[in-house]
């Protein structure tokens, strides 16, 4: 077995100076019996080394599908990428052959999932599942791979790594399991880590530990982190930039402080207003009216218009609002961003 890292480094068109990860106009749809569900409708964002980009949105806004499309693990059928680019260091991953694509996974771009219990294989030890990466991608022997697995468990601060390496996933607590997931994702030193709701299944104190661990490992490795979440509280602490997604589109993108100070899109504003705040204790919590649109039937114009307090006639007509540059390094897809910013 050969060392696959070396093979990935000679991917055709690889340019070390190109952006680490750039998603352009990504479209994903699911062709089901009940019709075509448009899960992602022109998502665009980028990621630099050492940076944390949070992708924020409600369930069903296309954030997980975007992540799976980047990884190339979309269930297909029914999922199809109909348009767009996923550029890693200048190479469009969507144009690679499947075997080339596979070498990028885990080596360059890795992913961790929400529920570590179901995301780990119940019938193999965590040691086996970690060592498997070194054996499949680095051609290591069983013994060497196992030693690397122990090192990894140590790095994610699992006490007694040497003995726990032989345990099965169900023998770990929720937080420890998520640490195993993280160890697995970081095994091959990827440059990009996509974390899909990594702390949603955990209780609050463990959430903080896991986020702290992710931040620590990211700093050590200068890794780009895409954090997919619906939890604005988590985002505020760790993210550098935020992309807010709604109905498969990035509706606002901004540095984290700017967005908290003054949201540029009505949806972002509504999300922020629905966070419980200590200084407003006792008052009624604002909720967003209505439901996100069915992906088989996305409204014309701005997808958010039926739920939006700012919506006027242009919002209800195609084309959808373009990404207005509302400030340096900030975009928002709202015709009335000035009003929103002003409020």
């Amino acid at each position: 077995m050969t060392d696959i890292k070396a093979q990935v480094d000679v991917l055709p068109g690889l340019d070390p100076r190109a952006p680490l990860l750039q998603i352009n106009d990504l479209h994903v749809e699911f062709r089901t019996r009940d019709g075509v569900a448009k899960a992602v409708n022109g998502a665009s964002f980028w990621l630099n080394p050492g940076e944390t980009l949070a992708i924020l949105g409600e369930s069903g806004c296309g954030k997980s599908v975007t992540a799976q499309a980047i990884m190339g693990i979309l269930e297909s059928p029914p999922g199809h990428i109909t348009r767009g680019e996923v550029r890693y260091r200048g190479v469009d991953l969507l144009k690679l052959r499947e075997d080339e694509r596979r070498r990028v996974r885990a080596n360059k771009i890795a992913m961790i999932f929400q529920d570590a219990l179901s995301a780990l294989n119940p019938v193999y030890t965590v040691g086996f599942q970690l060592a498997e990466l070194f054996r499949a991608h680095r051609g290591m022997s069983r013994g060497d791979a196992k030693n690397r697995a122990i090192e990894l468990l140590d790095q994610v601060h699992i006490p007694g790594a040497r003995s726990r390496v032989n345990d099965y996933p169900h023998q770990f607590s929720g937080g420890m399991r998520q640490r195993v997931m993280i160890a697995m994702a970081l095994a091959l030193d990827p440059e990009v880590l996509i974390a899909d709701e990594p702390t949603t299944a955990l209780d609050v104190t463990v959430q903080a530990q896991i986020m702290g661990l992710l931040a620590e490992l990211q700093r050590q490795r200068n890794m780009g982190l895409i954090l997919i979440t619906h939890d604005m509280g988590v985002v505020a602490d760790v993210a550098d930039r935020i992309s807010v997604m709604y109905a498969g589109r990035v509706v606002e993108e901004a540095p984290v402080y700017d967005i908290y100070a003054a949201p540029g899109h009505p949806y972002t504003r509504a999300l922020l207003e629905s966070i419980p705040r200590l200084d407003l204790k006792g008052q009624q919590l604002t909720a967003i009216r209505g439901l996100p649109p069915a992906l088989t039937d996305i409204p014309q114009g701005c997808a958010f218009n039926p739920r939006c307090g700012y919506a006027k006639e242009p919002c209800r007509q195609d084309p959808a609002p373009p990404a207005y540059a509302i400030a340096p390094r900030r975009t928002a897809r709202c015709h009335f961003f000035r009003e929103v910013l002003g409020d």
């Binding site: 596979r102 070498r103 999932f113 179901s118 780990l120 119940p122 019938v123 099965y168």
Partner: protein, 308 residues
Amino acid sequence: MFRYIVRRLLQMILTFFGATFVVFALMFANQDDPIQALVGEKPISDTLRAELTERYHLDDGFLSQYWHYMSNLLTGDLGDSLTGREISEMLSSSWPVTVRLALMAIVIAAVIAIAAGVWSAIRRGGLFDNGTLMFTLLLLAMPVVVLAPVAQWIFGMELGWFPATASRNATFYALLLPAIVLACTVVATQLRVTRTSVVENLRADYVRTARAKGLAPRRVVWVHVLRNSLIPVITLIGVDLGVLMSGAIVTEDVFNIPGVGSKLAQGVRTEDGPLVVGFVSVLVIFFLVMNLVVDLLYAALDPRIRYE
């Protein structure tokens, strides 16, 4: 684990007594005139009849007969058949060929069922999947009383590819055709169960993780999915092995194989109580042990199962 096995063995003793009692009672109730059945259509002298009745305790009550039988059985003496042969000797002469036949059949069935089941699960809705669906439906609809003679006629006689019958010391090759026929009786269910189980597991989250790890699709299926999918299949294979062991009656009859099944059928026909009860007792033990082995295999395949 050790305590679990001991407890299971103790439970087996109970099951064993229950099962032999039921079989004994059934044979007793069904008994018409075993002595007449033994000599066939010929008349029998009264002295001989009296002597045989005496020897086999045929005049005693049911419980007394059962007691006689069980006390012999527990000292390892299975007794004599009404034909005068020792049952243990009959068993040991018919056992090996049946074991070989059943093992061959189960291996053939399991290999085909797992390979085809996984393949049709991966390509679900495709030509192969629909083909195996038709094929398994056909097999399920075909009783072995039809399948065995037809296979014997076509492959044994018309085409002459296989010997049409097999003896006690049959070669692997001579047993192949009956083993395939026998495999056909269990392969369909095993294949459907494998397919369903693999389809279900392919949707599991850990499969997505395995793919995100950049593993080859072959490794994802045969290492990650298969082991999870095999858990229900193993149970079925274990039970099927017991079924094949005892259920080879028709197949052994058609192919003239002097195994356990054909002896047992003969015993039932001639109302040979000791023979039937003796054979069934051994089969019951075999069945119970197979069940235990399956449960232990379960724990080996799925670490979440621990026996206390």
